[in-house]
Symmetry: C2
Subunit: 269 residues, 2 copies
């Protein structure tokens, strides 16, 4: 705790990383530009450190200064201790888990690195909701997918809400950004992956039957956003359309549940 | 639309079913006691009617009076048309989907009725969160489970939030309440069901292997609440513990995703 600093001025520049955390539009712009992301709560902070992300600093309320300060000390990052009211004034919300860490981004791998070593990849198109991105990562990691490829318009997996919903799975599961443009999936296919597009379309094949056929091959499972699903262009680029059979007149699952079932079908085959 | 009545007094007793909808504690008490539940939005209201629930009345804002009024007319229920401000004052929130219907509960089947005709049942213990109950019903219906048995301390599937999250699946999938007490599961086993308890416990068997063994039998899949999971008593009462294999150091899925994967594993076997 030798680095703990008590701060009482909300305008102190050392709190700059933590300002306006509830302003989603601002943070979406600032965080990638400044090479920054936020981790919240002890479990998530530990997972970010374990995954090799450097800590820039930690913001603690006095109640948490002891236990969490040691974690920051081990990470050789400064600890700022502020009263709860000040924390709320700076961040814009009640920091109920008591600890916030500003973490450093590291360069993402190229898609080719995931394609070289993975056998079961998820390909997300336009999943632009932070909760859904987090939930899909949690399911993909839990169910044994090897990595995630994101279209350029997917939400940031390191945004605070995504990190939280993923329970830190965004740190343990490798991911990369695909390039823009209609040829983005060519590299995936050329790496020997079969492109399966998940869709409720009645013409799609049962995902379990297709997974069984591909049990020894390499599979890239394409998923679209809640509601809209995959674009016509993505569907046209796929090798095979797959669907989860539905009963009782239900037309869909939410994206987290659908993704989890699809990952299970692919990885358990 | 012959039954449409414009109401301008927030204290009008005909609006009694719609008062204080944001007061969860009040509505949890009132709705079962008064044999009432709320359906919100055209799609959900239609599904409730299709499932045979009688409509008591409908509350509409003027913008929706035409299209939705016909639905209420067909259901032979009175339509109350109120300005948006009044709707908000009575219900406590902005009725953005434009239509709210007060529906009549019908008697629940006995567990024995589900046990007699189902082959794949979900058994929920202490799932007391309305969002989770709704999500589990959506998954159970979509993935072809035959019904749901609820412990006495599970949340109400007909509570407004449960109905909404389930996308109306609470209407199409039969469910019953189990009796209190340690013998509640005996009737399930005596009906020839194998009781599988879903748990992250490392001693549990892979759900897919167990599902394959039980492919021709009758299966009751027991699920506990988010976080706590099944109680020690429920685990002790089970025939077999099953788990979804986890990778990448992730210790769990959220309850909706875990339930969906488990239902898929059971029904696709």
């Amino acid at each position: 705790m030798s680095t703990a600093v008590r701060i009482t001025d909300p305008g102190d520049p050392r709190l700059g990383d933590y300002t306006g955390l509830t302003d989603v539009a601002l943070r979406r712009r600032r965080e990638p530009a400044e090479g920054l992301f936020m981790a919240e709560g002890e479990k998530v902070i530990r997972r970010a450190l374990d995954a090799g992300y450097p800590m820039r600093s930690m913001l603690l309320t006095p109640r948490w200064a002891g236990a969490m300060g040691e974690l920051a000390g081990a990470a050789a990052a400064p600890v700022y201790v502020v009263e709860e009211e000040l924390a709320e004034r700076v961040t814009g919300y009640h920091v109920h888990r008591g600890a916030l860490a500003a973490m450093e981004r590291v360069p993402l791998p190229e898609p080719g690195q995931l394609l070289a070593r993975g056998r079961r990849l998820a390909v997300l198109e336009a999943v632009n909701d932070h909760t859904n991105i987090g939930a899909v990562f949690r399911g993909a990691a839990a169910l044994g997918m090897d990595g995630v490829l994101l279209s350029p318009d997917c939400a940031d997996p390191l945004y605070r809400r995504s990190v939280k919903v993923s329970m830190g799975a965004v740190f343990s599961l490798p991911y990369a950004r695909l390039p823009r443009g209609p040829r983005a999936l060519d590299e995936v296919r050329e790496a020997g992956f079969r492109l399966l597009a998940l869709t409720p379309d009645a013409r799609a094949r049962d995902i379990q039957a297709v997974a069984a056929e591909q049990a020894d091959g390499r599979v890239a499972l394409m998923l679209g956003a809640e509601g809209a699903g995959l674009s016509a262009r993505a569907l046209a680029a796929a090798d095979t359309w797959v669907r989860i059979p539905m009963a009782h007149g239900v037309d869909s699952l939410n994206v987290a549940a659908a993704a989890a079932v699809a990952f299970f079908a692919i990885t358990a085959a």
